[in-house]
Amino acid sequence: MKRLSILMLLIGLVSLSCASVYSLDFYSTVAGMRAAAAGRSGTAIYEGHNLFVMIWPHRGQYAFAVINQQGDVVDDLLRMVNANGVNVYRMSDLIRWMESNGFKQVDPKSLPVSITSVLLSQVMAAVANGSRALITPLILPAGALEYNPYPYVEVQQ
């Protein structure tokens, strides 16, 4: 059983590097969204229906992420890409669909500050670089560390 487990782990690792089964990871999504927010070449941002669709090149294909708000449009879009519909096979099909449904390409500078500040922050840079030592801010009320919750407990020696 243990040999089987190790074998399956190896298959999983091979599938990570194999292009035919390669999928989009969360980690590469964060890196791609950062690239799109910074306006790197080959990236694009579409806006419409209170949604932002970020597009960036990824391993010879195009990856995209849909940010926020109105659920119906997001569901439609993802359903089409998942090939339950028959319209979207390529990124050009998706862009055509978006443009015919009220989306338009926007400059990365026009993204809301809430999105750019998160995407281009130092913490996100650490995540995008795969750092395992993330910065964890800890906010305590002033004097909290001096507060003794058990003032009447005597320590017996």
Partner: protein, 89 residues
Amino acid sequence: MKMLFALFYLPLWMVVAVWVILRRKKALDENDLAMRAMLLNDIYYALPVPKGRFERMLIQKIIAYIEREKAAMLDLQRLGVRGIGMLPK
């Protein structure tokens, strides 16, 4: 205790197999993202205790990958990402 683990935990090979199959999906909505995060968690808890040097190295790599993915997943949630996907040019 072993009975409890047998009842509530899937074996590692099965979790990895499901994960490999689910990775083939072209686009992931919120449910798929949550499912993937859960699978990563399950793989993490199903990892065996390494014995040899090779196993230790392999499992360290996997744990680093899972931690990296979980950190990125939290940030995607914070940004309000509703779906991700990939399409050919």
